[in-house]
């Protein structure tokens, strides 16, 4: 399979070094879950990959071309942030249709595509609702529908279900997994839930404590039993959380 995304030696320093160096590559159609203790730089890494933040070191290649921060105008990358980031003064359908404008899609078609993707996200009948009038789960699904509507090559998702209750979370996991299977997109998915990662990811990346490196890359192909995998990952993350706290107090 073709390498879609190549992260080589990427590091980031703010006031403190956050990401030491991280390297990995993702093949087209993979569903990668990014795990790690809070504050280890998962969001930062995702933002670097999405071209929203410059890396201090290293490079990101998307389809063999470097991602340059601030120059997100060249490729189709969908981002689902931790918050829905819907425009509150536009209906769900208008929110989705808006992002199709830069692609030169005619207005009637924009509406049709918005309808279709909202339907896929289980929001049929709610196209005309303003974000403030639907639940948080529905808003997040609309944000996912918006990201998918541009048919992105790569979909970056940063703890998209963080604000959802357990039940909605389960539903959305199944939903995203189904959409992934139907569309074959490459997905990079940040989560702090190990169960979630094991349930939906094909590849699991465990990051270490800050300044972070890649601690473990696990193929979630069913060869290792699920329960054991969850156990192992739990042990790892406990160690990293402990190390990070130790580092902070030292």
């Amino acid at each position: 399979m073709a390498v879609k995304l190549q992260v080589s030696g990427v590091g980031k320093d703010y006031l403190i070094p956050v990401i030491d160096t991280v390297s990995f590559s993702v093949e087209a159609g993979e569903f990668v879950c990014l795990l790690g203790p809070n504050g280890c730089g998962k969001t930062t890494l995702l933002r670097i990959i999405g071209g929203l933040e410059p890396a201090t070191r290293g490079a990101v290649l998307l389809d063999d071309r470097p991602v340059v921060a601030g120059d997100v105008h060249t490729r189709k990358v969908g981002v689902v942030f931790q918050e829905d980031r819907l425009l509150p003064w536009m209906t769900l359908a208008e929110n989705v249709a808006l992002v199709l404008k830069p692609l030169g899609v005619p207005a009637a078609e924009r509406r049709a595509i918005a309808r279709r993707h909202l339907g896929l996200a289980g929001l049929a009948g709610f196209e005309g609702y303003y974000p403030g009038r639907v639940s948080g789960g529905m808003r997040q699904r609309a944000a996912i529908a918006r990201a998918l509507a541009i048919e992105p090559d790569v979909l970056l998702m940063d703890e998209p279900f963080g604000a959802l209750d357990a039940q909605n979370r389960r539903i959305m996991q199944t939903e995203v997994r189904r959409i992934w299977q139907q569309t074959g997109r490459t997905i990079l998915f940040v989560t702090h839930s190990i169960e979630e990662a094991v349930a939906i990811g094909t590849t699991l990346l465990m990051m270490s404590a800050r300044p972070s490196r890649l601690r473990e890359l696990i193929r979630n192909d069913g060869r290792v039993e699920r329960a054991k995998l969850i156990d192992d990952l739990n042990t790892m993350i406990m160690e990293e959380v402990e190390r990070q706290q130790g580092g902070a107090s030292a």
């Binding site: 999405g50 929203l52 997100v72 105008h73 990358v77 969908g78 981002v79 942030f81 918050e83 980031r85 425009l87 509150p88 003064w89 536009m90 808006l98 992002v99 404008k101 830069p102 303003y130 403030g132 918006r146 541009i150």
Partner: protein, 256 residues
């Protein structure tokens, strides 16, 4: 459930307690007017009569129209320039600093300064009250717009970047809708201020407008007409608030 709720709503809509207080005030007013005489305090009845007169002669429209015209030009100009200042503050951090400083100075300047200066510059003409209104309302409206521009959610702008919305589209879909409520709030306060200020400026040098006619009524010892024109001013204020600004605010908030 609907019945008692509806009843209370009815009471609230009529402002019955307010009405009661006003009746008491009217009674005390009548008493005081009878005690001190019509020159100092005209009776409520004479004020109502005076109001009827200016309505019948159409004088009410002449002077209200003259005042409103000056307000619309001065205040309208202020809104226009305020929007440009907001735009500059949005586009350049350096311009934002300048705008902040200019507004701080304007905010600290008294109405009287502008009245005197405008008489020196424009003499006894329409432009004196117009200029005064312009200078006084500009900082109020502009401060609001600039605050609105500064409060545009950066996360929404970043979303716009992710989806490669062109600058024009980001401005239309993100910046304008999030700044509009600030603009309307600023215009609401600004218009109230414009009415109050332009009337003061009309005392000097013009021969029409609510401020002029109030001062003239005082000079010819028709105190009841001073009260009548004060009433006209209050009505103009309340009507524009209800008909214009409340309606616009409601329309803006329809997605909330």
């Amino acid at each position: 459930m609907a019945q008692p709720g509806g009843g209370r709503d009815w009471v609230a809509r009529l402002h019955l307690p307010t009405l009661g207080v006003m009746l008491v005030i009217a009674a005390v007013w009548s008493l005081l007017s009878w005690r001190y005489g019509a020159y100092v305090l005209p009776s409520p009845a004479s004020v109502v009569r005076g109001f009827g007169e200016i309505l019948a002669t159409g004088e009410v429209w002449t002077h209200t129209g003259a005042s409103l015209y000056r307000i619309l030009v001065g205040f309208g100009g202020a809104v226009g320039l305020a929007v440009l200042m907001g735009l500059a503050a949005f586009l350049s951090p350096r311009a934002r600093g300048v705008v902040h400083d200019v507004l701080a100075v304007l905010n600290a300047t008294s109405v009287f300064v502008w009245i005197v200066i405008s008489i020196i510059w424009f003499g006894l003409s329409n432009w004196a009250p117009i200029f005064t209104t312009f200078m006084i309302t500009l900082p109020v409206v502009a401060s609001n717009i600039v605050e609105g521009v500064e409060n545009v959610d950066r996360r929404l702008l970043e979303m716009g970047d992710v989806y490669r919305l062109p600058g024009r589209e980001k401005f239309r879909s993100i910046v304008i809708p999030s700044t509009l409520p600030y603009l309307v709030a600023g215009m609401k306060v600004g218009f109230g201020l414009a009415l109050k200020v332009s009337v003061v400026a009309e005392i000097f040098g013009v021969t029409s407008g609510i401020g002029y006619i109030m001062n003239y009524s005082r000079e010819i010892l028709e105190t009841q007409m001073v009260f009548v024109w004060a009433l006209v001013m209050i009505l103009v204020m309340m009507v524009t608030d209800k008909l214009v600004f409340d309606a616009v605010s409601r329309r803006l908030a329809r997605w909330r």
